[in-house]
Amino acid sequence: MIALSIIVLLISLLIQGIMSNYLGYTYLDLSIFSTIYVLIALLILNPYFENKKKYFLILIIFGLIMDIVYTNTFILNVCLFIIVYYFSKSFHFFFPYNWITISVSNLLSIFLYHIISFLFLNILKYDVYTFSNLLKILSHSILMTIIYTNIIYTIVVFVKQKFQLKEVK
């Protein structure tokens, strides 16, 4: 299961770049393909890790890679990923894991990620971008978040059952 998780996360990392650059901006100036693919994959893989230390290690590594490659920041994405992870965990305390609840929780998690960033950026620096821009970012990330969540969820469930993979201990 750990190998599958790493493969899924590496593919998500590559898709993050491909979608942000080509499909997201090239056609009709629409950015409906932009979402945080790595975060979506991390949240889907969460229930397959019994050993939460290993999960956190993977979450920190991929958060750092996101920081270095995509945002040129330091541990910002790591912190945001952990906050979103706790949110997702709390959500699934009330709702079981299935494709509908995972779609909803991932969508809310992506929203939370953007809203936290928006709030802090606007507290620290006036007029970085407006509330209407935030709404645009949120609305444009809905479609791809739901699609990618379902694709990854289906692949993970299928591969796990097909090869009878055990949860990460």
């Binding site: 080509y22 945080i36 040129n72 912190c79 950026l121 970085v128």
Partner: protein
């Protein structure tokens, strides 16, 4: 899935509060200064960018194929325009040679080593664009190995794009001119063919997509449609690079100076190839 449901603990709330404090600290630092990559970070970035380039290749080819297909319907009209432009090229080339000779004579007479409009070119491909809205960064596939240095100017076929802010061995980050960064002000010249006025790009409005040029007195005349170029002042951008066109003019709250809304000539939503310029006086 064998899941154990545990009630969220109080310590999780402390962890979240702690993380929020870190996020605030990191963001406040990041806003004030551009973070430079260390050796390890450069290595990670170069590795990911290298792998991405391999994966991009078929997607890029497919994307180009689709673009070519859709542009076919405009070929006839474009061909007519190009034919008329080709006829002008010879006279422009002759004029260009004459101007170059004049510049070199003036340089000799005034004992100047370099002028602000001289630069070398280096073409690059955009390998990824930041998914987060406000950072306004692109990553290109050329780095220090190719002679890229921090502060170099980046353009595309339509105009100014930004400048290099971070360089690793095989890739570099470009900060777009659309960023609302106080360290990213650009000195510009607004020209209507006869008069030149110098101002400063102070901000970018995401709502209307205009660059805001300030620092021009209310007594000066600026017309809608005037072209905006880099002035070359400030030592970063070479002079004469097209930025955009004046779209509208408003006065500031004190009625003393103009705020000029400039529509950028470059389309920042569609940047695949760029050219890095190196001012020859930087050598």
């Amino acid at each position: 899935m064998n899941r154990k449901r545990r009630k969220p603990q109080k310590k999780h709330i402390y962890i979240i509060v702690f993380l929020i404090v870190i996020v605030v600290a990191v963001l406040s630092y990041m806003i004030k200064s551009d973070k430079k990559l260390n050796t390890f970070e450069s290595l990670v970035k170069d590795t990911v960018v290298g792998v991405q380039k391999v994966f991009y290749l078929p997607i890029k080819n497919f994307s180009t194929m689709i673009d070519d297909f859709f542009s076919l319907r405009d070929v006839l009209e474009e061909n007519k325009i190009l034919k008329s432009n080709v006829e002008k090229i010879e006279s422009l080339e002759a004029e260009n040679i004459e101007l170059k000779q004049e510049i070199s004579k003036i340089k000799e007479e005034l004992d100047i080593e370099h002028v602000l409009s001289e630069y070398d070119y280096l073409n690059a491909t955009v390998v990824n664009r930041n998914s987060l809205y406000w950072y306004n960064n692109l990553t290109i596939d050329k780095g220090s190995h190719n002679g890229i240095e921090e502060g170099m100017v980046v353009i595309n076929s339509t105009g100014l794009i930004g400048k290099i802010v971070n360089v690793s061995t095989f890739s570099s980050d470009v900060k777009l001119i659309t960023t609302n960064d106080t360290n990213n002000k650009i000195s510009v010249t607004i020209t209507n063919g006869t008069n030149n006025l110098t101002g400063l790009i102070n901000a970018y409005s995401y709502d209307d997509g205009y660059l805001k040029v300030e620092g021009i007195s209310n007594t000066k005349t600026v017309n809608v449609g005037d072209l905006v170029y880099t002035s070359g002042l400030g030592g970063v951008f070479p002079s004469g690079i097209l930025i955009g066109k004046v779209e509208s003019i408003v006065t500031d709250v004190y009625d003393l100076s103009k705020i000029i809304n400039v529509k950028p000539s470059a389309n920042f939503d569609d940047i695949n190839y760029v050219t890095v310029l190196k001012r020859t006086d930087q050598q």
